[in-house]
Amino acid sequence: EPEVTQTPSHQVTQMGQEVILRCVPISNHLYFYWYRQILGQKVEFLVSFYNNEISEKSEIFDDQFSVERPDGSNFTLKIRSTKLEDSAMYFCASSGPGQETQYFGPGTRLLVL
């Protein structure tokens, strides 16, 4: 069964450093998303991406964040200058054409020190 994959599974970084989180969505999916989940809190929408551009972004997704689909398979989230409060689990998701159902990857646990 096809699945969303994410790398790395864990990332530890120093405050102010740049991180890139990587995702490989399900191959025939066209819509891509990033969410985050701070420990003990709700899953929060960050950004949706379709047809090589951002469809919508949340207030959390400020100028420090960017997304890219550098090739036909990868989808990345970059945080330019990490803050302590960026520590969270980051989930990538994808959905197919005409589908609202979103399939999630296993997540990247980011810890900013």
């Binding site: 969303v4 819509y31 998303y33 969410y35 809190q41 709700k42 899953v43 929060e44 929408f45 949706s48 379709y50 469809s55 919508e56 949340s58 689990m89 989930f91 959905s95 609202e100 159902t101 979103q102 399939y103 999630f104 990857g105 296993p106 997540g107 646990r109």
Partner: protein, 112 residues
């Protein structure tokens, strides 16, 4: 009022029990509703998807949506210890952005 409210529990039941999990929401624009299961430190796994009011059944799971009351439920019949997880409701409107709004999740323990 929060957009989506879900009692975090924890909920503890004996094996074989019927489990009822619920969410309420305030935004009448929500059109589709999902239930995800999340094991500790893993990604959400899609369980059920419903688009309209009514019931939808899949094996031991039944999803129920009442749009007039802005209330959704997930029922688990013959619960098993392997059902022990956090159950999250998520919902979205019919716009093109497909942003999902989530409940906090209910922690369920099914005891053998």
């Amino acid at each position: 009022q929060k957009e989506v409210e879900q009692d975090p529990g924890p909920l503890s039941v004996p094996e074989g029990a019927i489990v009822s999990l619920n969410c309420t929401y305030s935004n009448s624009a929500f059109q589709y509703f999902m239930w995800y299961r999340q094991y500790s430190r893993k990604g959400p796994e899609l369980l059920m998807y419903t688009y309209s009011s009514g019931n939808k059944e899949d094996g031991r799971f039944t999803a129920q949506v009442d749009k007039s009351s802005k209330y959704i439920s997930l029922f688990i019949r013959d619960s098993q210890p392997s059902d022990s997880a956090t159950y999250l409701c998520a919902m979205g409107d019919a716009g093109n952005n497909r942003k999902l709004i989530w409940g906090l999740g209910t922690s369920l323990a099914v005891n053998p």
